[in-house]
Amino acid sequence: MKTEKRTLRDFTSKPEFSSLLILLMMFALTAILQKNFFEIKSIMRNVNAFAPLILVTMGQAVVIISGGIDLSSGTALSLLTCVLTSIMRKNDPMTGLYGIIIAFVVALLIGLINGFGIGYLRIPPVISTFATSFIWLGIALFLRPTPGGESVSWFGVFYNFDTLKDASGFFGTLSGFLPPSLLLIIIGCILWYVLSKTKTGRYIYAVGGNSESAYESGINTAKTQIVACMINSIFIFLAALFFVGQTGSGDARMGDPLTLRSIAAAVVGGIALSGGRGNVYFALVGALILSFVNKIIFFANIPYAYQTLVGGAIVIVAIAGSQAYISYSTKTKEIKIG
């Protein structure tokens, strides 16, 4: 069995490599601008700030790889926070558990419906998830017309281990250096890792790469797309746990900014919008890059009025750079037909 050695060049020509470079640059810039960057407290605060985008981006990446896209991520996230805070009652700790279970089921349903639209009804994903985003928003507003709701006291464990320090001193020590959001991210990574080692994980790439070929090979493309959407909603569910842990309330509008940012982050992380290509862990890198860009703008004291403009410009440059890198490295390998 002959296989050529994977050379360093093979790695550097991938778009993932360029995103790592960009990450390193942003990391360095932020470290320079933020004085206390390397202090434990501020690292923890950064992880907490970045976690929601990271989780939503990883879920988005799975959907994009399978050939779809999810414009309803943000409102789904809002809906889940509203579900949680509508079920929980401050005085009854058990409702926390009920809330988690029911919200999880709702998340799976969201994924099922999105996947059904893409896989069975064959509606272009941009349109169907745009439509479902209004359904989630509507239900969220119905549950929580204004931000609020209740949360059990131990729910804060999803935000800070401090919450449980009375239960056990162990949690108190953890809260000194480990943010729970990091654990949520790790859970997400494990979820994807397991999936990627199964047939369905391989099929997600096949269906996104060329759905006719996948169908010809006997793969159930609709089922694969549904699974991808459901994995996405599990990631969104994890992000919802974090938000409710942090704020204790549900808000029908809080997820809105995350939808498009998660798509941009995925692209910056090397996920091709055409599907079939990309690495979910690098989508995480893309989310980090976007988050650092925000920090840099903040610390560079750019006037508030220009922050959005500069942020958007940097995102465009990062995406264009990663696309140019992809087309440069594939052009040199492509066999031209003409």
Binding site: G209, S213, E216, I219, I335
Partner: protein, 499 residues
């Protein structure tokens, strides 16, 4: 043992008869070759056996049982494997991932990639000893992709393997390896159906041969008993030794060289093509399907920016790098697929007819609709266009009339070279005759030159003054008027002189 028996299979595609009663027998451990001209039905029969199409009539028995497959998956599960164009490769996955796609095995709950790699390497290295199975498929050459596709089918351990033109994209060394693999499979009991347009390949590797013409099988040979008589085979394919009296309506080519093409090359699609086209001449381009004829038409019309070519029209050098260049010099194209390439199907007849006129002649800023409307009515008259009015969507017209619109849009512009890429495809006999008589008329009265590619050899025989035969992107033969006969065309197309 007979693995497969097909009896009297019929198949229509919306009025066009593809199979009018075809029969085939495939025995265990033998390689059966299918031969026939374009459109003779061999591909259709293969696809019916593989479950891609359902037959309209006839009986197919596989392993002793009658079969009615609703889709190709059922056929695959029963052990019938088919390889045709690269239909089932995912470009972003690696060679080995593609080979086991849909057939992955697990250890426990997870994919068993180790054994998948081994299984793939075992087979694919027999055909391509040096291929890196970790390469992504989009990095491979078309020939290598074809090999991966073949490996994929073979790895399912089929009992009946159908290879439809597998050698088309392969180089000689790869063909030799493929034949070796086919012999191995045959000796282990697999029945193989093999089609190729290279006559010598079929003669070399097959045990049995079945020849198709016009949707039926017209002859079969068993090479255990019969001699490998090439002349007899060609006789079966063409069906006649002599002309069947098709009237030749070509005129004497007159005049100067209108278009001179030298060393036209485009990657591996078109290789070093050179020819001259005279004023008032109808030059045909023939050969088996897919040898580059349609690409040549597109190239002459300026569609490929990367083309390398020395072209002169009426002595003046021109660059064929953009369609607008070609059109301004009087070279216009009636493309092969009128619906997607020649027309705006949702637009009206009028809109389609005037479009080039607006773009090319940049005379006025405001489009003179009234004047153009009158012109179009004249054009519709000349062409005997049957349409409810000029304002109906062109998609509502019949094929023949649609084609008239495609030609009509070039009228009124000075056309020096009319490129026709299979203009009469899918058009009924009456409209076909109409179309050609109009074209021949134009040639006689205006001295316009025509380059005609037709997939139906009868059209080439009837209308062409000279005929170029293409094979794998180059011109392999030029037939003068008297030499344009069906037998000569088939001989040249199938490269009978070689080997």
């Amino acid at each position: 043992m007979n693995i497969l028996e097909a009896k009297n299979v019929k198949k229509n595609f919306g009025g066009v008869v593809a199979l009018s009663g075809a029969s085939l027998t495939c025995r265990e451990g033998r390689i059966t070759g299918l031969l026939g001209a374009n459109g003779s039905g061999k591909s259709t029969l293969s696809k019916i056996i593989a479950g891609v199409y359902a037959p309209d009539a006839g009986e197919i028995t596989y392993l002793g049982k009658k079969i009615h497959y609703k889709n190709p998956h059922e056929a695959k599960q029963q052990g019938i494997g088919m390889v045709y164009q690269n239909l089932s490769l995912v470009p972003e996955l690696t060679v080995w991932q593609n080979i086991v796609l849909g057939d992955e095995k697990n250890t426990g709950y997870f994919l068993d990639d180790e054994s998948a790699r081994e299984r793939s390497a075992d087979i694919v290295h027999k055909l391509l000893p040096n291929i890196d199975i970790e390469k992504k498929v989009f990095e491979l050459t078309p020939g290598e992709m074809q090999v991966v596709e073949i490996t994929k089918a073979v790895s399912r351990k089929p009992k009946l393997l159908i290879l439809d033109e597998p050698t088309a994209a392969l180089e000689k060394a790869q063909v030799t390896s493929l034949f070796k693999l086919m012999k191995e499979l045959a000796s282990s009991g697999v029945a193989i159906i093999f089609t190729s347009h290279r006559l010598w390949e079929v003669v070399e590797i097959c045990h049995d041969l079945t020849i198709f013409r016009n949707g039926q099988n017209v002859g079969s040979m068993d090479f255990d008993k019969d001699e490998k008589d090439v002349k007899k085979i060609i006789f079966y394919i063409t069906g006649s030794q002599s002309e069947t009296g098709i009237a030749k309506t070509c005129i004497e080519a007159c005049g100067e060289t209108r278009l001179s093409i030298e060393n036209l090359s485009l990657g591996t699609m078109l290789r070093n093509i050179s020819f001259d086209l005279k004023q008032g001449e109808i030059l045909g381009v023939g050969g088996l399907a897919g040898q580059g004829q349609q690409e040549l038409m597109l190239a002459l019309a300026g569609n490929f920016a990367k083309i390398a070519c020395d072209a002169k029209i009426d002595g003046k050098p021109i660059k064929l790098t953009r369609p607008s260049n070609a059109i301004r010099n009087g070279i216009v194209l009636v493309p092969g697929d009128r619906e997607t390439e020649g027309l705006f199907s949702k637009h009206s007849v009028f809109s389609n007819l005037i479009l080039p006129k607006i773009g090319i002649e940049k005379k006025s800023f405001i489009v003179p609709y009234r004047k153009l409307k009158k012109e179009c009515e004249q054009i519709a008259n000349i062409l005997a266009l049957k349409a409810a009015s000029l304002d109906v969507p062109v998609s509502t017209l019949s094929g023949g009339n649609q084609q008239k619109v495609v030609i009509g849009k070039w009228l009124g512009l000075e056309t020096k070279v009319l490129l026709l890429s299979d203009p009469a495809k899918g058009i009924d006999i009456g409209a076909k005759a109409d179309l050609y008589s109009y074209i021949v008329n134009q040639v006689r009265s205006t001295g316009m030159s025509v380059i005609l590619y037709a997939s139906d050899t009868k059209e080439l025989i009837e209308y062409c003054d000279r005929l170029l035969i293409m094979y794998e992107g180059s011109i392999v033969a030029t037939l003068d008027t008297e030499e344009i006969t069906e037998e000569n065309i088939i001989r040249a197309s199938m490269r009978v002189e070689e080997k």
